[in-house]
Symmetry: C2
């Protein structure tokens, strides 16, 4: 069945939020999604959008999405970060994820981004194999550090 990839509109954020929630439920962290549809509408479609989204649409239904935004490397300059790429469970294996990924790479190339970065779980070998087959590299030595909001509050109150 055919699908198209296109830039998301504000009114797509309900569907995008459903995909985000579906993934969180799948990862057994349903309560981790604090973002609301209204947050996505405000932060993605204001004067200075915090992100851009490509959606995959099939028969007027959104079945996948890639959410990304600018970062900046002090060595390379403007880079792109892929935050999430989600295809709804029932539509996997149809090439929709690869189409979203390819659209993002074309976008990055056309707009002269110096790098595209994202994060992967180290046990997700299927994903790693796919990324490496496209020329991307998993960095061995670098680790991600997070200061959560709760720990931030603790730190600044000291």
């Amino acid at each position: 069945m055919d699908f198209i990839i296109r830039l998301a509109r504000k009114k797509d954020m309900t569907s995008v939020h459903q995909l985000i929630t579906e993934l969180a439920v799948f990862e057994k962290e349903p309560d981790a999604v604090e973002v609301t549809v209204e947050d996505l509408e405000r932060d993605g479609f204001g004067l200075h959008p915090n992100f851009t989204v490509f959606v995959a649409e099939q028969e007027n239904t959104i079945v996948g999405m890639a959410l990304f935004y600018d970062r900046f490397s002090t060595w390379k300059g403007k880079t792109l970060h892929l935050e999430d790429l989600i295809v709804t469970q029932s539509k996997r294996g149809l090439g929709i994820g690869k189409a979203l990924y390819t659209e993002l790479m074309n976008y990055a190339f056309t707009n002269n981004y110096k790098r595209i970065a994202w994060e992967v779980l180290d046990w997700n070998q299927g994903a790693i194999d796919f990324y490496e087959s496209t020329g991307a590299s998993v960095l061995k030595e670098w680790r991600v550090v997070h200061m959560t909001h709760d720990n931030l509050i603790e730190f600044v109150k000291k």
Copy 2:
């Protein structure tokens, strides 16, 4: 000797670029810095800045900097990313790095960011110990993936 922490101005970018280059030389990658002073001035001080910088200043000389920008988590919302925190070699051990770090955390708290993220080399135990002492966590399972510009060109041409 006293120092102050303040937001960087456009004219500070020459000093900021020197710090970036100093670190790259220290890491034995002097040619990795493709960013120019002009890039920093344009991308950091345009209508939609790609980053913000705090600098540490001592006797009218910039001796350290922290460069950061917004990211967006589909679970948490608006988050902050610390790209680089650099103190010039001769001024280490004076608390300048911690002061820049603390300023960033206060900034994130005041502006209601839901998380602060950055990256660390897994063998840099001194840095990891410091971060953990402030309440931050090194994520064990996540890996950073990069598609370089050269590999992007290869991919999109296929």
